[in-house]
Structure formats: C-alpha cells, structure tokens
Symmetry: none
Subunit: 257 residues, 2 copies
C-alpha cells in the first residue's frame, strides 16, 4: 500500500479544524496527531495564546509534522472561516441558542455529503478552560455535542477533535473503503476432527479413562461436544494430535525401557 | 438530573480496562478520565512501571477520582483477567495470529450482548512504547483494531481507550434490540483455564514435548491460543483436566509397575 497517496486521498474534502484561542502548545500538538490518525490535514489557529510556531506543539504531535508545518494562523475568527461554506461549533454544555444540535456521527454524515458537493467545511473548538464564547458559537450554522456521561462531561480538546475526526473517517459511507485485511478463522473439515477424536479415544481406552463402562458413551459424547463446540482449525487439531502423541510416546518409552 | 445515579446506571456491565505494564502515570490518569467520560469504571493495572498509587495519574485524571480510587493492581496478566469470561486485545499492527479482528464499533455491539447476559469482559491495552507482547495477545479471544489512517496509525493509549469507551457508551445496536433468544455457553473464568494450561504444560514438559528448546515459547503460545479460541466452559475444562490426568496416571502405573 502506498501510504502517502492514501493520505492524500483521505484528506480530500475533509473539514478544517479551527482552534479558537488555544492555550497550550501541547494540546495543539495532540490535536494535530489526532487529525493525522484520521486523515484530516487543515488545522487553523485563531490567536493562539503562546504564539506560533510552537516547539511544544511539534513535540506533542508525534511526527504529524505535515500538519504542524501547514498550520495557518489568524488574528480573528472571521478571517479563519473566511473561505468556508459551512461552519459547525462544538460545545460541551447546553447553549441558549436555537440551532440544530448533532452528534459527531450525524455531523460526519452531513459533512461527507457537503464535502462531496465541493463545499468547504470547518469545525470550531473553544479554549481549553471555557470553550467558545456565545458570539463565536453564533457564527456556526449547527452545533456538535458529544454524547458523554452527563455526570462527567469534560472532554479534553484533543479528545474532542479525535472523536470528530474518527467519525469523519469512519462514516458509514466511507467505511467500506477502509477495509483492513481480516482473517476469520475457518473450522477444520470434520474428517480431520473425527480422525483426532478417534485417536484420542484410543489413547484414553488404553489409559482406562472410560470407566465405569456404563458411562462410556456419555463420556465419549461429552468429549465430542467439547471439541465440536471449540470450532478448531486444521492447524490447531494437528497441534493437539501432537500433544496426545507426546503423552503416548512418553508412556511407550517407559514401558519398553 | 441526579448525576450520581446516572453514573451508576451507565457503568452496569461495562468492560474492565486492563493496562499491561503502563509506563507513564499521566497516561493512566488520562485513561481514567476517558473512562469517566463514557461511563466505564473498572480500571486494572498489570505491573505499572512507576508503581501505584501515582500522583501524576490522579492529576491527569481531572477529577475522575472515583476511578483512580478504585484501580486494582496485579503482578501478572493472568491474575488481572482471572475473573473474566471474555478477553479482547487491542493492537495497532497486524499480528501473525488467527483470531477474529473487530472494529471498536463491532466489539461494542458484541460486548453489550455479552454484558447483558452477565458475562465479565475485559479489554487489554499494551505499553505505550511497544504495545502487547504476542503471548499477551494470545490470552484474548478476539482482537480490536482501530480503523486509522494507515499512513499515520500510532494512537496514544488514552485515545485508544477513549474510542473504545465512546463506542461502548454510544452503541447503536443495544443488546435489548436484538430480539432473538440466545442461550450461549459461558466461557470459564480465566483462572480455571490458566490452572488447566499450567497442568497441561507440566505434563508435556515431563513428556519432552517442547523441543527443540528454542521453540518452547512458540509452542506454548500456540497451545494457549488453541484453548483460548475454544472458549471452553468450566465443566469442559474439568473434563479435559481428567483426560490429561488419565494419560498421566497410565504412565505412572506403568513406570511404577
């Protein structure tokens, strides 16, 4: 797989992540890393408290240098969203505003549709301490809120970006394109299992396992059930064959020695 | 809204989060915070590098004190998963093991079903630097892998926990909606399986099964994988214990007779 091309393909039409007055360079870096994990590339900062560039941000980005290098910095929110067609605001708490409220999953479906139509999209994230001001939320058409445990709702900014980016990349419509290789186990052909069970029963007969004789059929069936239920694969059955054979050989060596 | 009751309700049947040899207290704290965000409560540490308790962990947890206070610490992975019926391992890269591979979303659907049936579930997360060892992955029935951008796949441990917890809490297909009757077998608690595997290995050692010695670890891991994959129940394991014991006794009789 050619990683670089894949990246370029994934970032196509992805939303811009707009951090409004971020306070800590470390958080900006962790945001960049989360974006890289899920194929987003356009990171915009509005008036970062500690200035830009930031070595702390670069260190925390864990080699997401392509995102750090491409960061754009703006003096005002209006400038940062100037080229966007659609703006979403993320909020942790209820706002006294009448705007549609979406989950990250719902928003990602919508953003894919808009992106496919060539629209420019951005998502606003507020300061670490107190989020977005009401007048900043007001520039957004819609609000994204995170479905967290109401008893413990505070999400770190990088985690909020992570969830949005994760949903954007794993949106149902895209999921099929991302299929990593999966190998589901295939149970062995039954003749392999039967041969193993015959071998095991023979060993157990010689070891006088099946007693009293009246219980033999019941015990045999129990054993069969265990190995059928286990859905073992060819290789696994061969290994168990070796296990029983090892225990057999040991006996044979002793009795002939 | 009564926050506390809500929390209690949410954590019912949630999976345990098992961190294997975590290195940094900060990361343990951020994991606790992510768990609190999404209603998980059972955090287990296997042999944390910098010991426990950790003030750095508590600080990074941002007031998820109920989780930090309830952390349990274990010397070995086997002890940490002793009371669990189902174990998942999270991995970032492809492993040379034949186990089912799930996305966090697929796993969360399954975990809700299992949790509703009263099973104890745990998810393993590896060290920050190099993840889980192969023999640690081998105790898991299934693998959870994160659908990240293949060109930039490194997820921080707290982010990995965040995504799993987020999917667990926001699972769309809650088990209650799946209306078919399931009376599925319950895998034994892991301590039963561990005791059986110890017994089997001992018998095989005496039978000189593990040779050449260089292959011992690999052969041991293969055996573990087989019996983990089989998802055996308590009674089934007892039966297999009897099978091995019968083969043992046979040898002892012969060699003493």
């Amino acid at each position: 797989m050619s990683g670089t091309n894949h990246t370029l393909e994934l970032v196509k039409n992805g939303p811009a992540i707009v951090l409004v007055e971020p306070q800590l360079g470390e958080n900006i870096g962790m945001v960049a890393r989360a974006m890289a994990n899920f194929g987003l590339a356009d990171l915009r900062l509005v008036n970062p408290r500690d200035g830009w560039p930031s070595e702390k941000a670069r260190a925390a980005a864990s080699r997401a240098d392509h995102i750090i290098d491409a960061v754009s910095v703006f003096a005002t929110l209006d400038e940062a969203i100037g080229d966007l067609n659609h703006v979403y605001a993320t909020t942790a708490r209820q706002r006294d505003m009448i705007k549609p409220v979406l989950t990250p999953r719902e928003a990602s479906i919508e953003m894919h549709q808009l992106g496919d139509e060539g629209r420019n999209i951005g998502i606003l994230f507020g300061r670490e301490r107190w989020g977005l001001e009401n007048d900043e939320v007001s520039v957004a058409e819609k609000i994204i809120t995170f479905p967290v445990n109401p008893a413990f709702a505070s999400l770190n900014i990088a985690q909020a970006v992570l969830l949005v980016a994760y949903e954007w990349m794993n949106c149902e419509t895209k999921a099929s394109e991302l299929h990593f290789e999966r190998k589901q186990p295939i149970p062995a052909e039954r003749k392999t299992l039967t041969a193993f069970l015959d071998y095991l029963e023979n060993a157990l007969d010689e070891a006088h396992y099946f007693h009293p004789p009246a219980k033999r059929d019941r015990m045999r069936m129990n054993l069969h059930n265990i190995f059928v239920h286990a859905e073992l694969q060819e290789l696994e059955i061969h290994t168990l064959h070796g296990v029983i054979a090892a225990l057999e050989r040991r006996w044979m060596k002793r009795s002939s020695g």
